[in-house]
């Protein structure tokens, strides 16, 4: 279980990025974190990943305090960040450096097959499309079998079709071992397609403003009324978190005003 207890972060330049965030995440849960600019979403994710340290509060994973990158935590960044001097297979196996060669090769081959890139194992990262590169990054993060996988706007640089494809693919992969997923996104649809819970953050300093459960069965139909209802709830919470509800015309539904801000 991942427990965040009053996590605050103030940068040396005085920017107060996080102001006392508390959150409990169960094993296997998918949590989406959404919020406006400056709401500290990425800072929160980096603190959980041990890439930044919280100035106050604590982050505990199964009782271990997270002060640095942890073996049970994997990260997928906004860009694939593949190492250009390693081929696809070596990139996927990057986190398995301490494993016997045969085991590493078997796990890499299985992971590449799982992301439908078995035929690209010997290629260089420069030879991949954006979607393929991000799938390699997903495979690289999943190969060490993390208990918690952090995703920092992982599909934001991709076109809409590839993004939807990878969201479905991520859910397939998640179903294999059901790690905890914490996803930072700007995309409300993405949050609702993937998450069990959407945390809406308010800015300066970043705080959890609202928490919305998405109790829809998977796979989720993006065209369904239930999906639309969940989306409106998230958009309305976003509006309120940004204190922008007053900007909507009186006869305009609040959720639509939010949509205008987000799309």
């Amino acid at each position: 279980m991942l427990v965040l207890d009053r996590v605050s972060k103030t940068y040396p330049n005085g920017v107060h990025a996080l102001g006392g965030v508390s959150l409990d995440v169960e094993l296997g849960e998918i949590v989406a974190v959404i919020g406006g600019s400056g709401s500290g979403k990425s800072t929160l994710l980096r603190a959980i990943g041990g890439l930044d340290t919280a100035t106050e509060g604590s982050i505990l994973l199964d009782g271990d305090r997270i002060m640095a990158p942890h073996q049970k935590i994997g990260i997928i960044f906004q860009e694939p960040r593949l190492l250009p001097w390693l081929n696809v297979a070596d990139n996927v196996g990057f986190g398995l450096g301490d494993r016997p060669k045969a085991e590493r090769a078997a796990r890499v081959a299985a992971a590449l097959k799982r992301v439908d890139l078995a035929d690209k194992a010997a290629m260089w990262p420069r030879e991949l499309s954006g979607g393929q590169a991000q799938r390699v990054a997903i495979a690289r993060a999943l190969v060490p079998r993390p208990e918690v996988l952090l995703l920092d706007e992982p599909f934001s640089a991709l076109d809409a079709f590839t993004r939807a494809d990878l969201q479905d693919h991520l859910l397939d992969l998640w179903a294999d071992a059901k790690p905890t997923l914490i996803l930072v996104t700007h995309d409300v649809d993405e949050a609702i397609v993937l998450a069990d819970r959407v945390m809406v953050m308010s800015p300066r300093p970043g705080r959890i403003f609202d928490e919305i459960d998405v109790a829809l069965p998977r796979p989720r139909d993006r065209q369904s009324a239930a999906f639309d209802f969940a989306k409106r709830r998230v958009l309305a919470a976003l509006d309120r978190s940004l204190n922008r509800a007053a900007t909507a015309a009186e006869d305009e539904p609040k959720a639509d005003a939010g949509a205008a801000l987000w799309w």
Binding site: L51, P69, H70, F77, E79, R81, F94, W124, R126, P144
Partner: protein, 278 residues
């Protein structure tokens, strides 16, 4: 219809034609670079043969070739080339070793950079030839001063290239290493080294080029053997063909040594996303 296209029709295989085209291109591509010097040489040969110029101070290629062969036959060319090569190798080795250690330290540690880099940058501003009198006073007129001068010439491009390369390693890739909990040594071996390798190889090539430049200066300031000695000998005895032959020898070994670096580094740089020249 050309011979190639006729063969293609007979063979009926576009792949075969493409392969033949590649082979032809591989043969002709280096020849293209020879076109200009060969044309100039041939033109000058004709001018001298026709008696339009004496060719005494600027000998034609045939005379240079004859001198080159004479020097090779007596073993003078090989001996002097080997002496020069040994000086460059020693100076290059020392310069690269010191530059790599200091470049790595200043690139990696801001503290070391603040300590050393200002002094090294101040030294860099001094024209290296200005060190010659001091090196002769300190180290004598023989090999040590020559090798030191070459090492100084090699040092700065390698030092600057490596320090800059380490400082500009993509922070995002370093973060990938951190996310996978690489230790300091593993971070250097698996992220920093491959990331800086292209710039390091380039700096080695620049350093080597300066090494060849400085060996000429070192040998001109006083040597009894070496290609630089052949230059001086040719000047003092009025033998321009010998001077040009020595220059040609410099060009050949200089280019060959540069090519050697490229050849050794090539397998490690196959991943580079560069505009291919072919």
């Amino acid at each position: 219809m050309s011979l190639v296209s006729m063969t293609a029709v007979a063979d009926g295989s576009p792949t075969h034609v493409r392969a033949a085209g590649h082979r032809w291109a591989r043969l002709t591509r280096p020849a293209l670079g020879l076109l200009l010097p060969v044309a100039v040489g041939l033109g000058w040969e004709i001018v001298v043969r026709m008696g339009w110029a004496s060719g005494r101070l600027a000998p034609p290629p045939s005379v240079i070739l004859a001198t080159f062969i004479d020097l090779a036959r007596t073993g003078e060319l090989q001996r002097n080339t080997l002496v020069t090569l040994a000086r460059v190798a020693a100076g290059f080795g020392i310069g690269v070793a010191v530059a790599t250690v200091l470049g790595a330290a200043t690139g990696y540690s801001p503290w070391v950079r603040r300590l050393l880099d200002p002094s090294l940058q101040a030294l860099r501003a001094i024209p290296s030839i200005a060190w010659v009198p001091l090196f002769i006073l300190w180290l004598g007129i023989f090999e040590a001063s020559k090798v030191t001068l070459i090492a100084v010439g090699v040092f700065f491009p390698v030092y600057l290239g490596l320090m800059g390369a380490i400082q500009s390693v993509d922070r995002k890739l370093v973060e990938v290493g951190r996310a996978f909990r690489l230790s300091g040594v593993a971070m250097v071996r698996r992220i920093l080294l491959p990331a800086v390798l292209p710039a390091y190889v380039l700096s080695l090539r620049s350093g080597l080029g300066l090494g060849w430049m400085f060996v000429v200066a070192a040998e001109l300031m006083g040597a009894s053997e070496g290609l630089g000695y052949l230059l001086i000998d040719g000047q003092q005895l009025g033998k321009p063909a010998e001077i040009v032959a020595a220059i040609v020898a410099f060009a050949i070994v200089g280019k060959a040594s540069d090519w050697l670096i490229v050849l050794v580094a090539a397998p490690f740089l196959r991943w580079e996303d560069v505009v291919r020249q072919d």
